[in-house]
Amino acid sequence: MELFDQLINVLASTIRLSVPLLFACLAGLYSERSGVVDIGLEGKMLGAAFAAGAVAAVTGSAWAGLGAAIAIGVALSLVHGFASITHRGNQIVSGVAINFLALGVTALLGQAWFNEGGRTPQLPGSARFLDVTLPFADSLRDVPFLGSIYANLISNQSIPTYAAFAAVPLTWYVLYRTRFGLRLRAVGENPHAVDTAGISVARLRYAAVIICGILCGFGGAYLAIAQSAGFLNEMTAGKGFIALAALIFAKWRPVPAMWACLLFGLLDAVALRLQGTVVPGIGEIPVQVFQALPYILTVVLLAGFIGKAIPPKADGIPYSKDR
């Protein structure tokens, strides 16, 4: 029973740790499926986290924080779109620019406005998305196994967490069952064909990067006002890049994206759990192994040693009507 409780504990923190990855990963999915490479996920999420922390602190409302996070996510996405869709600039360069811009400006404004070493003020519970207890969770808690799973894994999560997991089937539906999704996938594979059919490539791609910005906004808000009680300097800590790795791992598909994010979340949870403990027969496993594992796995996968990850064909290529 104790082992089972530990397992539940690890899985619960797996879910918590995978939420920002999942938001960013789905965000990248929309953008890249439309043919716009996005390595600025990290920066957009960081900017959104700051906006959420700052606005929630000033207004005392988590929803206002979320709104601000989405606004900043979309604004940064539009910068990326302006550079890479309208001006056909290098999409990778633009993404790098957004990462640095967000890193610098959030730290700068955080210090200038709140004067707490770059963090936003500690939020009270009323200005955060707290864990929600689902109906009957407490009365079912004592049911063996299933009760504990329901009370600790399915219940006891924050609203953005449910939103993240709801976004997975939603994205699947949008991508594979709607006209917009069909066009979105087409524009990432063969924009000329889409253009010939009389549909605006630029408008589709802008729609995709705006959705990407909204999802990054959710991811940032989760970090700053659900998982933590405020914004911290560099609080994304590479999560945008892990999400990018997860996207590659999932071969740009929504449901596998969820599994990839959960896998990387699990690695993180296990690393936290094993810190300093000695595993019989092996000795102390360095945490760094778990930290590096998502990146190593991505490199191996990309190299085609365990299946092949092929990006959308027009990914990263600016569209111009003349061939």
């Binding site: 302006f82 890479s84 001006h87 990778i92 360069v93 790098v96 957004i98 967000a102 730290a107 192994v289």
Partner: protein
Amino acid sequence: MNGQLPRWVDYGLIPLINVTIAFFVAGLVVIAIGENPLDVVRIMLRGALGYGEGVGFTLYYATDFIFAGLAVAVAFHAGLFNIGGEGQATIAGLGVALVCLALNGQPWWLVAPLAIVAAMVFSAAWAYVPGALQAYRGSHIVINTIMFNFIATSAMVYLLTHVLKPMGQMAPETRTFDVATRLPFMKDYITPLGYDLGQSPLNLSILIAAAACVLVYLLIWRTRLGYALRTVGTNPTAALYAGIDPKRITVIAMIISGALVGLIAINEVMGTHHRLFLGFTGGAGFVGIAVALMGRSHPIGIALAALLFGMLYQGGAELAFEKPTITRDMIVAIQGLVILFAGALEHMFRPALERMFITARAATA
């Protein structure tokens, strides 16, 4: 595409406009904080160039940025984006530290050549893997170099906390090298001549950086390999027809790029801090991207851009001291703006300028 514009517009005016806009937007950020941008510029200029020690620090930062900028530029010429300079330089630090610790106590002029070779070999190896994976397995170099940055950090944390740290010490760093083994400071030579460099850490690495600029120029525009590099960067298919193997060139470009950025470790580990610790690169590897974009991938442009970023870093330190509301994060924001306007939006003003020149030409004709 650039047939319609004179060279001075293409290589002078457009980059100048782009960088000016980047700084203009940075000025808006300063206003948002509630400070006067002109005051800020004055403080930064005085801090960076106003006295000997400031100049020394400016040049010391510029040294790193020259290495990083040249590295990004060499890859650019071959059509590659090496975003992994930070990780490559980190691994180079390991090579430098191992050589310096093994030969600790030996005179610096004996150790330096070996340390330079170690720095270049270690970081070239770290760049080789993504290069080879791109060339022979088709994995995207940008993604792989990002991944390798993180792997390098994790590896370094492990090595410094478990292997390289002296017994009984808490801080994750190596022993400090003997005075004799350290690369000499420039202040030891320059200050006696009457120009006071103060306590600035500027060291002999700056001469290596100057030499690297010349060598990269010769490599890119005066050698067969440089020609092959540029051909692959411009048109890999044409290169193939001309008998150049794009895969081989990709790998070679990454090796050279990695070797160049690794020299940051000579400046930082052997020349300045005299020990290896986490994050000794201070983000210099990333600054190389802005420097290379701003310098249009030409060594002269890179040297100038590196100098400008050196001034920003040193001036920014002074600024943070005088105006506590403007922290050194300002530099990171400026870096982002320069990359945005000089890189991603570099063609924003081109159509307008082209129209202007065409009308001007039509009017004179």
